[in-house]
Amino acid sequence: MIHARGLSRTFTTKTGPVEAVRRLDIDVAAGEIVGFLGPNGAGKTTTLRMLTTLLRPTGGTATVAGHDLTAEPAKVRRRIGYVPQGGTMGPGALLGEELELQARLYGMGATAARDRVAEVLESLDLADLAARPAASLSGGQRRRADIAMGLLHAPALLFLDEPTTGLDPRARAALWDDVRRLRAERGLTVFLSTHYLDEADALCDRLLIVDGGRVAGAGTPAALKAEIGPAATLDDVFLSLTGRPLRAEAAA
């Protein structure tokens, strides 16, 4: 689903170049849930924006959902969904209206869009909220609405940027359930960024640990832990790979 080689992005800023992502290699197979785990500023969002055609890489190549990222961005867009870190709706936007627009931008007719929106709202437990402005939704509801936005066209591959940041434990667990269910029902492939170790542990088949724009380690949560020792937690893994704990960064 995703094959990236040497993917890089350097931003030019007033204070000099910022190497946000440095020669990443990423491979994700169909049906996998892969976590992209790293602290603030590790380059997670930058990587996701490149893989979703929103940002031009300054180096490297990638195929996403079967198409070359830079040569065929429109074909990539058709097959992927992206749930950005910062949300998808302004405060005054009406949930149902925004979802219908999004569905129509994926080429659905008016009726098909309406039906599809109803279906997705239902499946994410948002059915009663279609007429509500985004500002009136709870954090968890809004996050599920963001996810609905990325699922309307039944993508083969879904990118989630920190899907559960800011949610309470129950809402987080519910969201994990949603992601697992989507994979079970539809074979959805998921590439998600997170700076939560418990999320990585509970939800992901495989992890890429990223720090300073580089991959510091990769493997299944269990394998990563086994490398350190029998009683190791992902916390210990992170510390041993990057030389610093993730918690302090995540809290910042």
């Binding site: 429109a74 867009r77 005054g92």
Partner: protein, 241 residues
Amino acid sequence: MTTLVLARHYVRQTFRVKAALVFGALQPVLFLVLFGPLFARSGVGSWEVLVPGLLVQLGLLSAGMSGFGIVFDQKFGVLERLRVTPASRMSLLLGRVAKDVLVLLVQAVALVGLGYAFGLRAPLPGVLLGLALLLLLAAALAALSYAVALSLNQEMFAPLMSTVLVPLILLSGALLPMSLAPGWLDVLSRLTPFRYVVDGLRALFAGHYTAPDALLGAGVAALFAVAGIAAATRRFHHENA
């Protein structure tokens, strides 16, 4: 097609907040009501001279500030959400521009109607042709406004645009005919497209449909629309991977 879907969405969104429509047109309306009667009696010109100028002022203020909308969309992630769909980058621009042009049309019709109440007497074909020119101008302005909004950081847009628009309105001769201006000011004024559109609208409102001013105004408005939309489309593409 996608353009229409987007345009309808934006229109619905905009017309839900009717106050915004009124505020966008407030300044030209105030000029019409509080300055118009003075102008019409001053001997400088008639309502048929003033109203075309106020229409261009309206175009600059209303369409010129439309980029503000995308500043918010960018901030709330709406823009990325739209850009990750297969919708063409041009339709993402034109959907918005179509909405802005429609908003301007509603405001312009209201302004002309108000003008009539005060004493404007322009032939209907002239008014219709004038509005058509105005819409071309508005399309270009709105498109460029979005391009500028995407190129600046968020806090800069409103102060910069409102600062740039005022001299452009003054230089267009919207408020007083540029025929009164000293030579240097007249030259400066001719460097902006808005001057030609104002003169064109005035000719049309006077019923001189084939006067050089009318034709020049139409030509400049059309060119400006094509150039503006082309430049803005490039800017929308530039954001891509």
